[in-house]
Amino acid sequence: MNRIITTISIAAFMVLAVFSCKPKYNEPTYSKGEIDPSRFVMIGGGHVAGYMNDGLYFEGQENSLANIIARQLAKVGGGNFNQPLVDQSSIGISSNLLSPMKLGYKTDCQGVTSLSPIRIAAQGDLGVFNQNIYSTNALFGNYGIPGLKLADVFSSNSNSFFTRMASSSSASIMGDAFASQPTFFSLFLGLEEVLSFAKSGGTTEYIQPNILFASDYEQVLLTATANGAKGVLATIPDVSEMPYFTTIPWNGLTLDASSNTTLNSIYNPLDYYFSVGSNPFMIVDSTANAFAVRQILSTELLTLSLPLDSVKCNQMGVLFPIRDEFVLDAGELQYLRGVIAEYNQIIIDLAAKYNLAVVNVNEFSKNLQTGFVYNGVTMSSKFVSGGAYSLDGIHFNAKGNALLANEFIKSINSKYKSRIPQVDANAFNSTLFP
């Protein structure tokens, strides 16, 4: 009898051990809250389009900010989200008709080979622009158009990234984007305005005045909310935090004893002094002195478009000062940041007026500049190693888009009492190393 009890008990142990020890996963309950996500449209620039590594191409579009948000909306009833996809076999194309970039090896003028962004081909795939892919059966949801400025959404538009997806040659972005009568929308506008100014080193003088920006923005909102659609607006990041402007150090002029002596003899009469080691680059500034040249300040920024071979081998930034188009000087930065602050106030005020959610992309960019740890991975706005920006130093890569998409989702959830899950951003590609 006791032996039987023992045997049964031993058998019971084994059964218990095998079957009872897995914690149960309760399927999460998602909900759309107060939004109707069935038809989602997003309007913006290259950041919305999935433009990355200085190019528009299939894989980038698959991982666009708009598409990642749409995929999560699909979990609470969102419908098909159509994107103007570049063919999967195409290498894609940049705004300058070049090919996208990848990380590879490049040999500089001094014969030093190092890891550097390089173009994947001699030129981009012009076929991307030669074919119109509009279809009435599958209206697009992603109206992220690289280079799109707010003022350009109302009338016909010759931007090649739009003409390839436009319903007709006379179509406007507003007309096409709202033809599907979206039930939920997102606007990420104003960024391309400040970006084009910043990328040009402040040589493009015109940025739309804030009064016009406000009235244009409101006009878009009037159309967008006409059917009672809810939406989420995005503020503009301080673009001067992007690696395009922060990678090349202001004091990257490294001098040995002999060049130090030479430079001091040349520039001391102008009251500029050098020492052995790091020194500020020389830049063009017409207001500085008769020679229109001065040392760059530590607060001023150099663009990634600076021709580095000229710097390394041809005295650029030394005897030949760096031209204005590669420099954001103190005055330009003050103006730029002023405009961004004004635009953002307009966006925040309009979000309040129309009772819409607003994502603080400006703050997200600041956090990235400080750096933060996401699920064990340190993310920052450092070029290449920071993990969030693509190789063009301006647009996010897939992982950066995923992180930003999570900010949109958090904002929607908090405003509209929805429960939309965030994405695991580490499941998206960051910089790929050879």
């Binding site: 006791n2 032996r3 009890i5 023992t6 008990s9 031993i10 142990f13 084994m14 218990l16 051990a17 095998v18 009872s20 020890c21 897995k22 914690p23 149960k24 996963y25 999460p28 998602y30 990380l103 090896y105 190092s114 890891l115 550097s116 990678t247 090349i248 150090p249 990257g252 002029l253 490294t254 580095l308 710097v311 390394k312 930034g317 030394v318 933060f372 740890v373 996401y374 699920n375 064990g376 991975v377 340190t378 450092k382 070029f383 290449v384 190693s385 993990g387 999570n406 899950p421 965030q422 994405v423 695991d424 580490n426 499941a427 590609n429 960051s430 910089t431 790929l432 190393f433 050879p434």
Partner: protein, 410 residues
């Protein structure tokens, strides 16, 4: 005018080892009889496992005995990430800690006893599923430690026994995690740290029969610093980053805390016995976990991760019923506070305050030969955000440990 592109790569918060299944308070998976009574037995001499529970009570042994046991651990963790609501599971292989105890005396009724124990307080592996969300914190941790404890016990009076043992601890650690750099196909890098650890300590105790019914026991197991010297760090990363992550040697250390136990045993009737143990575990020593790499680069820096554990109490108790001359039945339970603060909860030890329940049986086939069986069950839940990785979610753990032992006396 050089170094225009500055690739100061990845200051990785690198590497953290931890006890695997060794919940906050130490795992008392020693002795099936003790496990059956809630893993308590400091004041009750039962069998060779008393070398672990109280070397002082070994003095009350009256024969030579050998005890061989194994307690397989079936443990599973589910992690639900708070942001994505996605669930990820461990795929732990079954832990198979074994133990062996021997008590010997030169002559019958000698006051001096010799004991030797070999046991594996940590013998399990945590293996997370592929591509889980915490893969940059941990993908796999294998910890194997074997304690060998030669012991001397002496009965200084009819009612008092004292004993002490020296502990030699040897172990293997293998810790793996993904490295957040991707190759041209998007595959993440991987790091593996493997090493042998060695540590020393002692275990001492007193056993005192207050009267015919009530016994009290006190033990102190010292802290053991498990030191890994000449551990091997191996990195699988894209070719262009090989120089940033050089394979090489590392050193590290893991303090296993001291444990002070006060225990009581009460013989209520001929058939019923009760035990109660209170542990105080000195987890406070585990304030940080440091790794020192022989070759440092901008990507691979020595690390020091805050742990800030706090010392805790654990309570364990149980009852035994002698059904007849051959069969004993046991039940027990325990509660332990978690030493792990919220900020230090990691995928290695998703620890929490826990209750557990145990049961057990002994059956004596003959005077000399008997078998014991025991079972342990616990489940726990912890929601926390780790301060180093920012992983934020809920860990749910279930563990069942059925154990068996064979005992031979002469």
């Amino acid at each position: 005018m050089k170094q225009m592109y500055i690739f100061s790569l990845f200051l990785l918060g690198f590497l953290s080892i931890n006890r695997s299944y060794a919940q906050g308070f130490q795992v008392n998976f020693q002795g099936q009889k003790q496990q059956g009574m809630g893993c308590a037995g400091t004041a009750l001499f039962q069998d060779g496992a008393s070398i672990f529970y109280n070397p002082g009570s070994v003095a009350f042994s009256n024969e030579n005995s050998i005890n061989i046991a194994s307690t397989p651990i079936f443990s599973n963790v589910l992690y639900v990430d708070s942001a994505t609501q996605h669930g990820y599971r461990t795929k732990n292989p079954v832990g198979t800690p074994f133990s062996a105890y021997g008590i010997f005396q030169a002559h019958k009724h000698d006051k001096l006893k010799f004991g030797i124990a070999a046991y594996t307080p940590f013998g399990s592996t945590v293996q997370w599923e592929e591509n889980w969300i915490g893969r940059f914190a941990l993908t796999r941790l294998e910890l194997k430690a074997i304690y060998i404890q030669p012991t001397l016990s002496y009965r200084i009076a009819d009612v008092i026994g004292i004993g002490a043992g020296f502990i030699i601890s040897t172990g293997n650690v293998n810790l793996q995690k993904d490295v957040p750099v991707q190759d041209s196909l998007g595959n993440y890098g991987h790091a593996e740290l493997a090493g042998k650890a060695l540590g020393f300590g002692f275990n001492a105790g007193i056993h005192y029969d207050l009267n015919k019914k009530l016994t009290v026991g006190i033990t102190y197991r010292s802290q053991i610093n498990m030191k890994v010297k000449n551990g091997v760090a191996t990195f699988t990363v894209p070719a262009s980053l090989n120089t940033n992550f050089p394979d090489g040697v590392f050193t590290g250390a893991l303090p296993l805390p001291n444990v002070t136990t006060l225990g009581w045993a009460y013989k209520a009737t001929k058939k019923w016995q009760f035990v109660l143990d209170i542990n105080y575990v000195g987890w406070k020593v585990y304030d940080s976990l440091a790794f020192d790499y022989e070759k440092n680069t901008t990507s691979l820096l020595d690390t020091k991760s805050a742990r800030n554990y706090k010392s805790i109490f654990a309570f364990r108790g149980g009852a035994m019923y002698k059904a007849n001359g051959k069969l004993d039945m046991r039940l027990g339970s325990g509660f332990g506070f978690s030493p792990v603060p919220d900020a230090s909860v990691t995928p290695e030890t998703p620890d929490a305050n826990r209750f557990y329940f145990t049961g057990g049986l002994s059956y004596r086939f003959t005077e000399k030969f008997s078998i014991d069986a025991s079972i342990y069950y616990t489940q726990l839940k912890r929601t926390a955000q780790n301060a180093e990785t920012n992983l934020y979610g809920t860990y749910r753990t279930k563990a069942v440990a059925p154990g068996f032992s064979l005992i031979y006396k002469w």
